[in-house]
């Protein structure tokens, strides 16, 4: 028997409470602007400020090659004569070094811009690697359950034993010992990204796994199973979209953490070379000049790092609250 609606002449629809304003189809962005998320965002001045700072710093970082007065990675552009100049407004300040120079005559402003870019790239790549790894493993663990789940989660336990810096230190130390001087800057970046990826995936995996286990039991998944969809299809089409919220929050916080981790690695001497400084390298270098009165070498990179991390953290915080239905 089949229900052919075409022939079934239907009664006028039952009244359904508040009249439904016919909604015009809208783009994803327009929908975002109309959403609760956006409304809550507009209410939070802090979140708006944080977003402004984040966007500004991202913009500055990724346009560094065009706006920086100097390419701090090109040794030919560094003049030793110009070393240790204070910022422009100080007594001995010299144009064009607005924020002064470091001990190699590197323009601090340019170095901060390029360093920001490098730190962000490492952070973003690190988050991408750990996120992909974590989500994939979390899905698999939550979906297959049983022995697969047990193995993944025990690995996660082992992993949790080692905080990011330990893993990064070990990976870095071993890689350097294995490859020696053959590691160029790009390889070092890759190494740091891999270390960060390897140490941050657990959080994603755990979150995704527990979400998958919750979602798997929900009736809409049962309904999909009833239709006969295969489990992988259900996982990807139904479950995955429902676990993106927490993943996004973790990603934000982890971006901030990854940038800090890179800086910390720098301090421990396993980060990027001084000739190609990230924010962390700049701070480590500048550290040496903290007592000598050449404060600008550490202060500006430090401020840039703190500002960036703070802004991203605030965004992540707000996002966490905004996405938590219980807090709305």
């Amino acid at each position: 028997m089949s229900t052919s609606v075409d022939e079934a002449a239907l009664a006028p629809p039952l009244p359904t409470g508040a009249p439904l304003a016919p909604e015009a189809p809208r783009s994803g962005f327009a929908r975002f602007l109309g959403s609760d998320l956006w409304a809550s965002f507009q209410r939070s001045k802090l979140a708006m400020g944080a977003l402004a700072v984040t966007v500004l710093l991202f913009g500055l970082a990724f346009s560094a090659p065009w706006i920086a007065p100097q390419n701090p990675y090109d040794p030919a552009q560094l003049e030793l004569i110009n070393s240790n100049l204070p910022p422009l407004w100080a007594a001995d300040g010299q144009a064009p070094f607005v924020l002064g120079t470091d001990d190699q005559g590197r323009d601090v402003l340019s170095a901060v811009l390029y360093g920001l870019r490098l730190s962000l790239i490492i952070g973003l790549l690190g988050v991408a690697v750990s996120g992909t790894l974590g989500i994939a493993l979390g899905l698999v663990a939550g979906y297959f359950g049983g022995i697969v789940d047990a193995v993944v989660m025990r690995v996660a336990d082992v992993q949790l034993t080692f905080p990011a810096i330990l893993i990064a230190l070990v990976v870095d130390g071993v890689a350097k010992a294995a490859f020696g001087g053959a590691l160029d800057t790009n390889a070092t970046i890759l190494l740091i990204v891999v270390s960060i990826g390897l140490s941050f995936w657990v959080q994603y995996a755990r979150t995704v796994r527990s979400s998958v286990m919750v979602e798997r039991g929900k009736d809409y998944v049962q309904a999909a199973r009833l239709i006969g969809l295969s489990s992988p299809v259900i996982m990807v089409r139904h479950v995955l979209p429902n676990v993106t919220g927490p993943v996004f929050v973790i990603a934000t916080i982890n971006l901030a953490l990854a940038i800090i981790t890179e800086a910390t690695l720098s301090f421990l001497g396993t980060g990027l070379p001084e000739t190609m400084p990230s924010l962390g390298t700049l701070i480590r270098t500048g550290n040496r000049f903290l007592f000598s009165g050449e404060w600008w070498i550490v202060a500006f990179p430090g401020a840039a790092l703190a500002g960036l991390v703070l802004a991203i953290n605030l965004l992540g915080d707000w996002l966490r609250d905004a996405l938590n239905p219980k807090l709305q």
């Binding site: 075409d6 239907l10 409470g17 439904l20 009736d219 309904a223 239709i227 006969g228 979209p241």
Partner: protein, 331 residues
Amino acid sequence: MSAAAPYVEVDGLRRVFDVSKPWLNRMIERAPRQTLKAVDGVAFSIARGETFALVGESGSGKSTVARMVVGLLPPSGGEVRITGISMTDPRQAAARRRLRARIQMIFQDPYASMNPRWRVGAIVAEPIRAFDLIQGEAAIRARVGALLELVGLHPDDARKYPHAFSGGQRQRIAIARALASEAEFLVGDEPTSALDVSVQAQILNLMRDLQDRLGLTYLFISHNLAVVRHMATRVGVMYLGRLVEVGGGREIFVQPRHPYTRMLLDAVPDLAHIGRSRVPVAGEIPNPIDPPPGCTFNPRCPLANARCRSEVPELRNGVACHAAEEGRLPA
């Protein structure tokens, strides 16, 4: 299909869950393996166009039966046949696949049964696409619109997300989805217990209208006896995984035979008896892992005797009760 061949046949259906502690605990505490007989030898049949209702207290195994009937849960024993096709026999896998489209389920919580990230249109269209019933986006959209109208919504609602609807409207969407796949057999596991009485009335009426129009067959599960009375042509009463009484809707409510059925009916507060205090039956449903021997109802039964405490009564003539068999039932 002749009246002799019921639409759904359930035979000796059993489902056992292993609720043992982990192996190591059992070894140390010398505890035996523990099982929970959620469903134990349930048999009934549903004729085409009929509404068969299952009632019983929480934990009596109603949902487990429903999930086995639609094939979401493999039975530990017994068989479910729908239009003669076994839901378990591997030889009938191909036939079963075709059957799939005709069996659908409506869940208790309409919100949980819809993917919150999907638009209503996609939700309703999902079975159509999955079973490849209609080709072409425009045709699918038209069909979804028609389905939404069928359940009393507006075709434009297809563009919204589930959260934009009230509980009753969501349950309508769930029904529209169930109907999308040319379903003729709907299993409703407490489809209205999450809803207000007034909305419940809307949904119950809708379900009956659809049944009248489309000739649907329902397996209807509820713990609300009044709702069951309203909906069912036949009723099965479950207690601790067993069917204790089966009968026509009127019969059961007017002339209940099993003491448990009587107790349940007595416990229902009724508008007709304002201010009357009910005679509550003592006790609660026992732990299903460790059910009492004999008739599982015996600890709460006013008619229990030694036989009830040792011998499990068979379902005969629509009731599984020694007292009924022995004619000890008070009028």
